[in-house]
Each structure stands twice: as structure tokens, then as C-alpha cells.
């Protein structure tokens, strides 16, 4: 085990869907001799790329889970987290970013900066991840790395600087000019494994000189030495330039841009060199934890291998040998036989098998030092949990988890499927905090909810494939909410005093809209008109009724309930009597408070050739969307709109047929908004009918 942290790189590879992440990762593993043959993502050999370990991914050609893999390049140890590109899986991307020190942002040389790149870039900025841009697919028709570099500046606000120049483009892509060493680089051999350095072609000489000047100007900001060397106009040592680029990259003020084509085996080795040279090692990045014993005050983790262990479980997988937990250590060492404590549950666990992962294959190891990414077997935990050495009670700061916006009912086809389904659901909810499941007590159905249609589809497929749980799937349901629009008073007496032990309670007060937050209970009772011990009963009653609104049975949010009067009976008042009085009172007030239905609104971006702009806008308009704006550049257009989620089911099919498959869209949750009257009436009618049937 190497212990030099300066030679460790934990990097992520993030990008827009289909810009070639998986292909690039595959090539990296090939050149670092982790694998001995290259399989294409949609390869004809049927093997599929090594990183897409799940069958489903192989079939769809997309990467769903961020498998971690290890490789070594020259004397650097590199852990790669392959992250999914589709926005529905954003939590996976965010979680992966949390444990990374640096990242490679891949862009397609034709598509350029697309909406997903913007999302990923924003996430990287949030987690302060230094990045290198790699403009892939330079062999494709229409490739223009210069335009993409300009987009990095304009759209992502990055100080993007090319450190290479392409030699030929599209099908003529031959290699690239390294602007630091001022050499042409070619990739010979069947799989580009032999790197050949040569003179810069004469016709590129002037351009290379000019671009080098640009590069030096940009990076000299980060190094006084370089600035001086430039003023002296002598030979500038390469090391000095590398050093300046590294400083700029680490400070997030510079993004070196590299080019190539992973598919054509061009430029990948140079990217690996850049990862080693410019991206941070674990000690370059300051990570903080929360000390649970000190009122969650922030503490900086030390990265010191001799300190007590702090490690974050960022990913779970269910393998043949039980649960596999991927962890990133932030300080201390983890070794076989160690006792570690899960700071969320306080439970002790013993480290059994410890492995280093390479997609589907694993390598048994004895221990791992600070800053490493490894996997543990047989540890029960949820993802996001922190493990510490006994005596330490720290937690890596919690991650931002959005609330689910879509749900659907699933029903196992038989008994066997029932058992497997619950196993699967148990696993998925542990793996993915945005995936939730519960049983609806009225209909007895199992409901799963998540961040989008595709998100849930993938889990249903996984249930089938990995757990052999066949389920019938209901129609997707939008997670509606109800709220009130004005203040209303209530005064309700619950009375049941006909023989036996009676029930009596009177509650009066008002409800009003709450601008921020979901629910607030205000106790304004004076003079003991409701005895102290029954105040929590009222609160409990209100919370119970809030779970299901009267319009559509959706949860009621954004409401303040205040009680200011009431009365009780010395014998007949009880906890349950006041709960029922509260429920009655709420219903009374709710009817008067002009309740409305709220629906999730998604921010949608459709990208494609400009010729389809009219058709795309028409399709969005038909779906109750509000078009925010359009962006045009050359022959390429982005339409941004706010769309009700309820109208977006099946939109991918519509879009495909409208645009001959040339446009694509991404969608993420934006806000909740009131449902228009006509639609609301339909929903209320449907709910009433459903209630009648039940």
C-alpha cells in the first residue's frame, strides 16, 4: 500500500448523457492496464464496457450507478467514480461529487455545453470541485472544440483555456499539439497505445504560437515566477507552466481544456497526465465534518493517517456476497479487524473483508489509508453514514436531498415476488435517499416515489433483473399538495356523551397560509380553557388531518394553525376527544379557507436543431407550459420552459417523433404552483369518484 497522499487522485468523470463518459473510462482502464481489451458501450461483442456493471446499463447504453474503480498511472494511484449523466439520477452525481477531490468534465465537441453540463457544473461549484475539461468526440462531423471552449466561458462562467490544439478535425483528426511542450503528439498502434512526439506541422505553427501566448497570459496570473520569466523573454521551463496551471485549477479560477476522441483512442493518455499534474490530491482539499458531541460544530478533517478514522459511506451495492459499502476515508486508517462505529446509529461494526474495486472485479486488501476509496463487505449501514474510530463522534456534513415529485403504485405478481420486492425496496431506499417507499393504508398498495419517471423505471427494472421480483406497475402519480389561500376561523365541539364513557372537547382558533415552511402550530390558549395536557393532543389531531387533504387526498402544506379558545369536561375530556375536536375544527376552517391544489413544476430544457424550434414550443405550449425563453446559436436552439410534471408523461416519445429524434430534453424539479381551476376540478372529481368506489 502506497502512503504518499500527494500521489493519490480521487476523481469523477461527469458529463451530459452520451458525451462518452463510459467510453473514456474504458480507455483509461485500458491504458492503465487494468483491462486488457476494449469493449464498446454498445459494442457488437456483447460484453459491454467494463464500468457499466449492471445488465440494465449494458442494455440501455447509459450508466446508472457510479461504480468506483481503481487504477494506477505512472506512479499515481487514481480512483475513478463514474457518474451517471441523466438528470433523474442527480442525487448519485451529487453524492459522488461529495467524495471527489477533482473531476474531469467531458463535453461533446459537437453538442458542446448542454443543459446537463450546466447542472453538473453547478453541482461541482457547490462542492468546490476543481475540474479539467475534456472535449471528446473531436472525430465527429461538426466537431468544433474552439466553440465549445467559448461556451465553457460564456455558459459555465469558467476561465477555460485550451492547453492543446487539434491537428485536423472530424475524420482528419490525427493528434494534437501540446501547447506547453510545443510538440505534436500522435497516437500510433492499433489502440493508440504508442505515443509519438514530433515537430508541430508547419501550417499549425503560427496558430500554436498564438494560442500558447494566450495560455501563458491566462496562467501567469497564478504564478509570479512565470510572470517574471515571461518578462525576461527567455526560455520558460515547462515545470513552471504546469505549476501555474495546477495552482489556477486548484483555486477553481482556471479550467484547463483538453481535447481528443476516446473512441478513436486519441488524447486519453495526455488526459491522465493532466489528471496527475493538475487535479488535487486529498491533502489539497479541505473537508469538514460535524462534531456530534460538540453541538454539530464544524471540524476540519486532518487527512493524517495516524489520527482516528473518519470515513464516509457514499455508495451501497448488493453483490453476490452481501452488501458492499463504498467508503472514502478522510483521516486515519481502516484495517481488517478494526472496530468502527457508525455515528448515525451508534452501532459498532467489525471490518471484515476490505476490497479495492474495479467495476465488477475486486482485489482483496489488508487496509487503506487516509484519502483512499475502498469497499467494505458485510457492514450494515445506509449511504451517507459516517464511520469513526471508537471515541470519535463525527459526521461528514449531510447532503442536500430533494423531496420526491412523482410516485406510482406497484403490486407483486405472486408471493415469491412479494418477498423479493420488499428485499429490493429495502436495499434501494438505503442506497438512494431520493427514492422513497411506503404502504398506502387505505388502498393497501405499495407506493414508490422518486425524482422522475425514468428514475422509478430504472428501479422497477432492477427489481426484476436483480431480485427477480415481477411487479405490476400502476400509472405514475404526480405528488400533488394542498394548501389554503386565506385565513379562516373555526370553532368546533366534539361531543359524544350517549351512555358509557363520553368524549368531549371544544377547540377554536384559526388557520392561515404560511409563507415558508410546511406546518406551524401556535398555542394561544390562556386561562386553561384547554388543559395543558391536551394541547399536544390538538397538535397531533391537526398533523393527522394534514396527511390527507379533503380535495384530492394529498398532503396539506404551508399552513399555520393557531388555537385560542376551547372548553373541556372534567370527566369526558380525553386525548382522543381533543384530537377528534382538532380534526373537526380543521375541516371546518379548511372549507372556508379557499383550499387549492398545488402541483410540481419542472424546469425543462429542450435542445436541438433550430428548425424544430416552432414544433418544440408548440408541444410545450399544449402541455400547459410557460415558455421562459429561447437561446439560439448558429443552428442550435435551447428552449427553456416551466412545465407541470403531470403533463410531461411520455414527452420523450412526443419529442422524438416531432424532431426525428434530433432533440433531447432534461428536466428537474423547480417549484410547486397552484393547479389551474379547470384541471383542479377534474382532480377533485376523480378523487371523489375514487373515494366512492373504495
Amino acid at each position: 500500500m502506497k502512503k504518499d497522499l500527494a500521489k493519490v487522485r480521487n476523481i469523477g468523470i461527469s458529463a451530459h448523457i452520451d458525451s462518452g463518459k463510459t467510453t473514456l473510462t474504458e480507455r483509461i482502464l485500458f491504458y492503465t492496464q487494468r483491462i486488457h481489451a476494449i469493449h464498446e458501450v454498445r459494442g457488437k461483442d456483447g460484453v459491454g464496457a467494463t464500468m457499466d456493471s449492471m445488465e440494465l446499463e449494458k442494455e440501455r447504453g447509459i450508466t446508472i450507478q457510479s461504480a468506483a474503480t481503481y487504477c494506477s498511472w505512472k506512479d499515481y494511484d487514481i480512483n475513478i467514480i463514474d457518474t451517471p449523466g441523466h438528470v433523474d439520477f442527480t442525487i448519485e452525481v451529487e453524492r459522488a461529487l461529495r467524495v471527489l477531490d477533482g473531476a474531469v468534465l467531458i463535453l461533446c465537441s459537437v453538442g458542446g455545453v448542454q443543459s446537463q453540463s450546466i447542472t453538473v457544473n453547478r453541482q461541482m461549484t457547490r462542492y468546490k470541485v476543481p475540474r479539467i475539461a475534456f472535449i471528446n468526440k473531436c472525430d465527429r462531423t461538426g466537431a468544433n472544440p474552439y466553440r465549445v471552449t467559448q461556451q465553457l466561458r460564456d455558459k459555465l462562467d469558467l476561465n477555460a483555456v485550451m492547453i492543446q490544439l487539434p491537428i485536423g478535425l472530424e475524420s482528419d483528426l490525427a493528434g494534437m499539439v501540446d501547447l506547453i511542450s510545443m510538440q505534436a503528439v500522435y497516437f500510433d498502434g492499433d489502440q493508440g497505445e504508442q505515443i509519438r512526439y514530433d515537430e508541430i506541422p508547419a501550417d499549425l505553427r503560427d496558430e500554436a504560437e498564438a494560442k500558447r501566448e494566450e495560455l501563458l497570459d491566462a496562467v501567469s496570473m497564478f504564478s509570479d515566477e512565470l510572470m517574471e520569466a515571461m518578462l525576461e523573454e527567455g526560455e520558460i521551463p515547462e515545470v513552471m507552466i504546469h505549476d501555474a496551471i495546477r495552482r489556477g485549477t486548484l483555486s477553481l479560477e482556471l479550467t484547463p481544456v483538453m481535447i481528443g476522441s476516446a473512441y478513436k483512442n486519441k488524447g486519453v493518455q495526455l488526459l491522465l497526465n493532466a489528471v496527475s499534474a493538475y487535479l488535487p490530491c486529498p491533502t489539497d482539499v479541505e473537508n469538514t465534518a460535524l462534531d456530534l458531541d460538540q453541538n454539530e460544530s464544524e471540524v476540519v478533517v486532518s487527512n493524517n493517517p495516524t489520527d482516528p478514522l473518519v470515513a464516509l459511506a457514499f455508495k451501497l451495492e448488493d453483490g453476490r456476497y452481501g452488501q458492499l459499502t463504498y467508503i472514502r476515508t478522510y483521516q486515519g486508517m481502516i484495517q481488517k479487524g478494526d472496530t468502527i462505529i457508525n455515528s448515525r446509529t451508534g452501532k459498532k461494526a467489525k471490518v471484515g473483508r476490505l476490497v479495492r474495486m474495479h467495476a465488477n472485479e475486486m482485489e482483496e486488501i489488508e487496509g487503506a489509508g487516509s484519502g483512499d476509496i475502498v469497499a467494505l463487505f458485510g457492514i450494515d449501514c445506509a449511504s451517507g453514514d459516517t464511520f469513526c474510530s471508537p471515541g470519535l463522534n463525527w459526521s461528514m456534513s449531510s447532503m442536500h436531498v430533494p423531496a420526491p415529485v412523482i410516485s406510482l403504485a406497484i403490486k407483486p405478481v405472486d408471493n415469491k415476488a412479494q418477498i423479493n420486492m420488499s428485499k429490493a425496496l429495502n436495499r434501494f431506499t438505503k442506497e438512494d435517499p431520493t427514492f422513497k417507499t411506503y404502504v398506502d393504508h387505505e388502498t393497501n398498495e405499495t407506493i414508490i416515489s422518486g425524482m422522475g419517471e425514468l428514475h422509478l423505471e430504472v428501479y422497477i427494472e432492477r427489481m426484476k433483473r436483480e431480485y427477480k421480483a415481477e411487479v405490476e406497475v400502476g400509472a405514475p402519480q404526480v405528488a400533488y399538495r394542498e394548501t389554503i389561500t386565506q385565513r379562516a376561523d373555526f370553532d368546533y365541539t366534539h361531543k359524544k356523551q350517549t351512555g358509557g364513557s363520553g368524549q368531549y372537547g371544544r377547540v377554536a382558533g384559526y388557520i392561515e397560509p404560511l409563507e415558508e415552511g410546511e406546518y406551524e402550530f401556535v398555542d394561544k390558549i390562556v386561562g386553561g380553557v384547554i388543559p395543558r395536557e391536551y394541547i399536544p393532543s390538538c397538535d397531533k389531531g391537526f398533523q393527522k388531518i394534514l396527511e390527507k387533504g379533503t380535495l384530492t387526498g394529498s398532503p396539506i402544506t404551508g399552513i399555520r394553525v393557531a388555537i385560542n379558545d376551547g372548553s373541556f369536561h372534567a370527566v369526558d375530556s380525553s386525548d382522543i376527544a381533543f384530537q377528534l375536536a382538532a380534526i373537526g375544527g380543521f375541516k371546518q376552517g379548511y372549507a372556508k379557507a379557499v383550499p387549492v391544489i398545488m402541483e410540481p413544476i419542472m424546469k425543462v430544457a429542450v435542445e436541438g436543431p433550430s428548425e424544430f424550434q416552432g414544433a418544440v414550443m408548440g408541444s410545450l405550449n399544449q402541455r400547459r407550459g410557460v415558455i421562459i425563453g429561447t437561446f439560439e446559436e448558429g443552428n442550435y436552439t435551447v428552449v427553456e420552459a416551466e412545465m407541470p410534471l403531470a403533463e410531461m408523461f411520455g414527452y420523450s416519445t412526443t419529442l422524438r417523433s416531432l424532431t426525428q429524434g434530433k432533440a433531447e430534453f432534461t428536466m428537474e424539479f423547480a417549484t410547486y404552483k397552484q393547479v389551474p381551476k379547470g384541471v383542479a376540478d377534474e382532480l377533485i372529481k376523480a378523487f371523489a369518484a375514487q373515494k366512492k368506489d373504495a
Binding site: 424550434q613 416552432g614 408548440g618 415558455i627 421562459i628 437561446f631 439560439e632 446559436e633 448558429g634 397552484q674
Partner: protein, 231 residues
């Protein structure tokens, strides 16, 4: 629509800009004095009067343009109480569409194609066009006349912004500075933004209803909020 008080209290009323004979308007200023802020206030005023506005931003992002509207609308809401602010914000979103172009991508034919897309499918029927960032330096008279014709055909009002430079002494006989000094007769209203000694910015109206006029109407931009104020 219930927003009459907001419309009536708007200091922009002094300009009589609601009149349909003001078909083409121009806001000129040196960089950074508040052209976009004024254009957005003109647009919001039109929206509050029930018009639909297309805001063309050349060389800006959708996000940035939208932020201008959000910010100025917030300022309006701070000054005037509206019973249901969310409805107003929603209404503005529905009556406004932002179109952003890369500098080279904007032309009359492009614009016409886009407007037709919207109108023929009945997605959006604009009454007012705002063009921020139009390149007057490299535009010939013909191109602007072309756009003016298009606006007339579609029954729309249009507002442009132009940057003038301190070092450029060229000025039209009616007082319109370069780069619009040879185009001034095409505009029905021209407003020049001028910084004053007290740091406020005066709206100097140099052309109104196609006639040369002089002096302002006592309107200024508050330098901190960029909102139009009457003195």
C-alpha cells in the same frame, strides 16, 4: 386585470408611451447607465397594461435576462402593495417571452421566422418587442427599416437600446448621438440617459412622436435601484 393603480402610478405615464403611434422607440446611453433597467421597466409597464412582450437579448443568457425582470418586479412589489403578488409574478411570466441570440444569429429573417412560429401556432401573440444589445454600429439603414416594416406589418411596438460613446462627437441635427445619428428619423421616440451631478440619471427625451423636442419630463433613474422616478 386589477393592476390599474400600478399602471396609473407609473412615472412612465408622463411619456405617453402607450400610444400606438410610437411604433419605434430608442434608449441611448453610455455603458452602465441603466439602459436594460429602463427597457425592462417599459416592458413591465406594457405587461401590466395587458400587452404581451418579447424581450430579445443579444449576447445575454436567458437566466440573466429573467433575473432583470425578477429584480425589478420585486422592487415594484416593495413599493406598491398588491394583494396576491404570486399571481402578478405568474401573470408577468405568461406575458413575457425571452429570446436570446448570439450576436451573429440575429437578423430580420430569423426574427420574423420566430415570431411567425409563435403567432401561427397561437402560442404567443406579442404586442411589444424589446431589443437589447442590437448592434447599431454594424447595421445599415436598410436592415433597421426592414425591422420597422416588420413591426408595422405585425402591429407591434418596438424598443431598442444603443450604446453611445463619450469620445464619439458625431450627432444628428436633432441631437441623437452616434451610432444612431443617421437613423434618428426612423424612431418615434428617443430617450437619452444622462448622468447628473447628484448621481441620479436624467431621462432626456430628445424625440417624441417623431418630432424633435427638448428637455426631459422631469424623470430620473434612481442610481441605487435603477427605477424611474418623478422629481
Amino acid at each position: 386585470m386589477g393592476y390599474e393603480p400600478l399602471v396609473q402610478q407609473n412615472p412612465l405615464r408622463v411619456l405617453n408611451m402607450g400610444r400606438e403611434n410610437n411604433q419605434l422607440g430608442l434608449v441611448m446611453a453610455r455603458a452602465g447607465l441603466g439602459k436594460t433597467a429602463l427597457l425592462v421597466q417599459i416592458a413591465l409597464d406594457a405587461i401590466l397594461r395587458g400587452k404581451r412582450v418579447i424581450h430579445v437579448s443579444i449576447g445575454e443568457s436567458i437566466e440573466k435576462t429573467k433575473t432583470w425582470y425578477d429584480d425589478i418586479l420585486q422592487l415594484i412589489l416593495q413599493e406598491h402593495s398588491v394583494t396576491r403578488p404570486h399571481e402578478l409574478i405568474d401573470m408577468v411570466a405568461r406575458h413575457r417571452m425571452i429570446m436570446t441570440f448570439k450576436i451573429a444569429a440575429f437578423s430580420r429573417s430569423r426574427l420574423e421566422e420566430r415570431l411567425n412560429d409563435l403567432v401561427l401556432q397561437d402560442i404567443f401573440r406579442p404586442n411589444c418587442l424589446i431589443v437589447d444589445g442590437f448592434d447599431f454600429v454594424n447595421t445599415d439603414r436598410e436592415a433597421l427599416e426592414d425591422i420597422k416594416n416588420l413591426m408595422e406589418n405585425m402591429g407591434m411596438q418596438a424598443w431598442f437600446s444603443a450604446i453611445c460613446h463619450r469620445g464619439d462627437p458625431r450627432v444628428s441635427p436633432t441631437g441623437v448621438p452616434a451610432p444612431c445619428h443617421e437613423l434618428d428619423d426612423l424612431f418615434d421616440m428617443v430617450i437619452l440617459l444622462k448622468p447628473e451631478h447628484d448621481a441620479t440619471i436624467q431621462l432626456d427625451i430628445i424625440r417624441n412622436c417623431g418630432e424633435q423636442v427638448s428637455g426631459g419630463k422631469g424623470l430620473r433613474l434612481d442610481p441605487t435601484t435603477m427605477m424611474v422616478k418623478e422629481i
